[in-house]
Amino acid sequence: MGNERHKTLGLSDEQVLDMYRYMLLARKIDERMWLLNRAGKIPFVISCQGQEAIQVGAAFALDREKDWLCPYYRDLGMVLVFGQSARDQMLSAFAKAEDPNSGGRQMPGHYGDRRFRIVSGSSPVTTQLLHAVGVALAAKMDQKDIVSFTSFGEGSSNQGDFHEGLNFAGVHNLPVIFMCENNKYAISVPVEKQLAGGSVAARAQGYGMPGVQVDGNDPLKVFEAVKTAADRARCGQGPTLIEASSYRLVPHSSDDDDRSYRRTEEVEEARKNDPLVQFQKYLQETGLLNKEKEKLLDQEINKEVDDATDYAEQAPDPDPAQTYTHVYAE
């Protein structure tokens, strides 16, 4: 690994440390949620584990003051970078009234936050791609210098909305980035049974846009790909499709048991490429991180997660009367 790789990309030491911090924060929030789930305190978790490099790398390549996100349910790392806090996540996991995504109405992982231009998402997969295209169309109409970013799994890339969205963006040359987080499985269905041709990026050509394949375990490579795509978008060169390869390190969700469809050894093998471990190594090699600093960071984040958990656990539930509000403008 070249020591100055991040500098070549225009990232300061501080920034890469910050990236690492976000990746670690995402991981630790996620791990805590599993514990809470197994302890019967929260009914559901869906994880970012194994995909943090994609999410944080991408978010750092965007403009957090003006770009728009239409993320999917694993994008914890991304929404943290854009401004959501650990507390926000825990409020959502406990479905509390203060949850900024939905006031406790949606499952965790269903991000949406007007403060940070994160468009509210749903569960049916792939619908958000079209919303991102719509945001990009609107931004282009207003001649605003805005990038619209959306992400999704490789299984979801087979839905009709993927095709309609990429085609629409291609025809109108819109400032939108489509990011596939290919984690090899759609619940139990492996990519070979899911995705004819085996490559999501290869589909870009059919829409007249660049299709970029990138190592999703390396946040710097993801950063670079997204930065290039964002620059293209901003100067009117239109959409890009990016496929970042990764691996889902945990079951699909807390309702899943992955032993029925994949071998433990396969997962163990993939753990060797854990993006967190790899990036940690990079930072150690570049001298930006040492045991001491790591320990401090760990402590700091643990405290953040503890505080968030405590706060959320004690926060009030939504009033039952909230069931009836906000169906229409009031």
Partner: protein, 327 residues
């Protein structure tokens, strides 16, 4: 006041709203240079340019989904589905996304968009250019559903729909497009969403309807007046939110209710209206509420003999009203 056609009322409303508010834009298949296959968007591209009058690819889910994205951003898209029958590929975007955006985000996001679609039969459109599709959406909270029957209401309600903060499905009966003409004021006006209108006062039978069949009821009422039967007619205009008060009041006038729509009977919206009456005006009724609707077959066939059998017409309506009056 000028007398214009039902479709001209659509075009005028679009034009005036685009002039009033630059966030408004239209999109759909063939809405640009072609001006729409029915010509509802005729001339708009000349005035507003291709940036605000978008010819989209042949992809209804994208038309709906892109409109949703643009609307959360702050635009006011007015999407056209070329035929209401072809709204079906967009159902997921409409029901899962547009209808639930405000609720799921706890009021943080909303979708101020309009989807216009020509529906209904009697135009040799066969199975897939004749359907009434309102029942797919009338049970979906979060959507508003508007189905006007006159040029005045088309224009006033389309303006209200475009100015509304929530997603509105605006269904236009395609047989009315050139058949129905009416007076429309020159100056800006709106008709409120959610208000039914009494079209005719009567004492013997109350007819509740919307769209093309409303006109059949009016014809029938004129006919029946000669026979001494007095018909009270309520035009729903909006199906969701439903003007229950107006319905109950109208039924109370005569004690007899006949609901008429072109959509097939079973599972159609008439059942909802009937249920509301049965629940809330039971003791006002002198006879069971009846429904006169399309038959329970998948859609309207092409052959004129079969299409005629499927469609309602003033004669069938007259008979049904007379029948109920005589009950």
């Amino acid at each position: 006041m000028a007398v214009i056609s039902y479709i001209d009322a659509v075009t005028q409303a679009l034009r005036e709203e685009m002039q009033r508010d630059e966030r408004v834009f239209v999109l759909g298949e063939d809405v640009g240079v072609r001006g729409g296959v029915f010509r509802a968007t005729d001339g708009l591209i000349d005035t507003f340019g291709p940036e605000r009058v978008l010819d989209t690819p042949l992809t209804e889910s994208a038309i709906a989904g892109v409109s949703i994205g643009a609307s959360v951003y702050g635009k006011r898209p007015v999407a056209e589905m070329q035929f209401a029958d072809f709204i079906l590929p967009a159902v997921n975007q409409i029901i899962s996304e547009a209808a639930k955006m405000r609720y799921r985000s706890n009021n943080a996001w909303n979708c101020p968009l309009v989807i216009r679609a020509p529906y209904g039969g009697g135009v040799h459109g066969a199975l897939y250019h004749s359907q009434s599709v309102e029942k797919i959406f009338t049970g979906v909270p979060g959507l508003k559903i508007v189905m006007p029957s006159t040029p005045y209401d088309v224009k006033g309600l389309l303006k209200s729909s475009i100015r509304d903060e929530d997603p509105v499905l605006f269904f236009e009966h395609k047989r009315c497009y050139r058949l129905i003409k009416g007076e429309v004021p020159e100056e800006d006006y709106t008709v409120p969403i959610g208000k039914a209108e009494v079209k005719r006062e009567g004492t013997d039978v109350t007819v509740i309807s919307y769209g093309l069949t409303l006109h059949f009821a009016q014809k029938a009422a004129e006919e029946l007046e000669k026979e001494g039967i007095s018909v009270h007619i309520l035009d729903l205009r909006t199906l969701v939110p439903l003007d229950k008060e107006a319905i109950l009041e109208a039924v109370a006038k005569t004690g007899k209710g006949l609901i008429i729509h072109e959509d097939n009977v079973t599972g159609g919206f008439g059942g909802e209206i009937s249920a509301v009456i049965a629940e809330e005006a039971f003791f006002e009724l002198d006879a069971p509420v009846r429904r006169l609707c399309g038959p329970d077959v998948p859609s309207m066939p092409y052959s004129p003999s079969l299409e005629k059998e499927f469609m309602l017409n003033p004669e069938k309506v007259t008979n049904a009203i007379r029948d109920l009056a005589e009950f």
